[in-house]
């Protein structure tokens, strides 16, 4: 598949209510015992759009390595908040290594309060696939 031509592909819009039990379980799973604040990596749960795009781009999940993860927070998340998010396949490039090529796929997810226009947070994932694709 020509991934370059797929840049700009969008996922559907996902909705989620920030559920107290899920937040607590996530916090415990990352050894983050504070129950006053939501772990700053909690937005990694908002990856359904990314998984949907991997599927669309015919990239098998087991080949995906995480290269970089960035979060930009505009305001703090609160338990009970109704959120929606969508992911865009934002960029793609390749590097030819000595042994194999490396494919870099960049996904950007905007997380908003349900119905709002501006993002509460933006996540940017750089995913790496080694070897031949397609």
């Amino acid at each position: 598949m020509d991934l370059k031509s797929k840049i700009g592909t969008r996922s559907k819009i996902y909705s989620e209510i920030l559920d107290a039990a899920k937040v607590t379980r996530f916090a415990q799973a990352v050894a983050y015992p504070d129950n006053q604040t939501i772990p700053p990596t909690y937005p990694t749960r908002f990856r359904s759009g990314e998984f949907e795009l991997f599927d669309q781009l015919q990239v098998p999940l087991w080949r995906v390595l995480h290269g970089e993860q960035e979060y930009e927070y505009t305001s703090d998340l609160r338990v009970g908040q109704a959120l929606e998010y969508e992911t865009i396949f934002a960029d793609y490039h390749e590097k030819k290594g000595s042994k194999e090529s490396l494919h870099f796929l960049i996904f950007e997810t905007q997380v908003r309060s349900a119905g709002a226009e501006t993002a509460l947070l933006i996540t940017r994932s750089t995913m790496i696939i080694r070897g031949t694709l397609g």
């Binding site: 996530f26 990352v30 983050y32 700053p40 970089e68």
Partner: protein
């Protein structure tokens, strides 16, 4: 402002990537990638054994930052503005991960800290840059 650029954030062991920890994180985070759970899938992907999720270790880096903020008396007036995690090496099954670093920038409104997560082989698994902002 009591913070100075270059001030160390001492290295502390946060957690160990046991099979139970990886399984619980897969479920709690909703990450279905089998390379964190299934030896055969990991080997098929060219890995020596199952590896920890990058974002699990990123969570441990955040926990190191939280402990530091608590000890330094940074209260709820301080919040996250941004974090960048760069994944540089793998956390293998049963690796204990230690996290430490230093203050990179400090003023009345912002703090930028850098933290490295290291595996027992001394490799930097994650290099993270974390920016805190005072919320007025």
């Amino acid at each position: 402002m009591k913070f100075t650029v270059g001030q160390a954030i001492p290295q502390e062991v946060i957690a160990t990537a046991t099979r139970e920890v990886l399984k619980e994180y897969s479920e709690a985070s909703g990450d279905p990638n089998p390379i964190h759970l299934d030896e055969a899938a990991a080997k098929k992907a060219g890995l020596p054994t199952i590896i920890a999720h990058g974002m699990l270790v990123a969570g441990w880096v955040s926990e190191r930052a939280r402990r530091w903020m608590l000890r330094e008396g940074l209260d709820s007036h301080w919040g996250w503005a941004g974090i960048r995690f760069r994944f540089r090496a793998m956390t293998l099954l049963n690796d204990a991960i230690a996290v430490g670093g230093q203050i990179k920038e400090a003023d009345d409104q912002h703090l930028v800290i850098e933290l490295d997560a290291k595996n027992p082989r001394g490799e930097i698994v994650i290099h993270a840059t974390l920016t805190l902002q005072k919320r007025n």
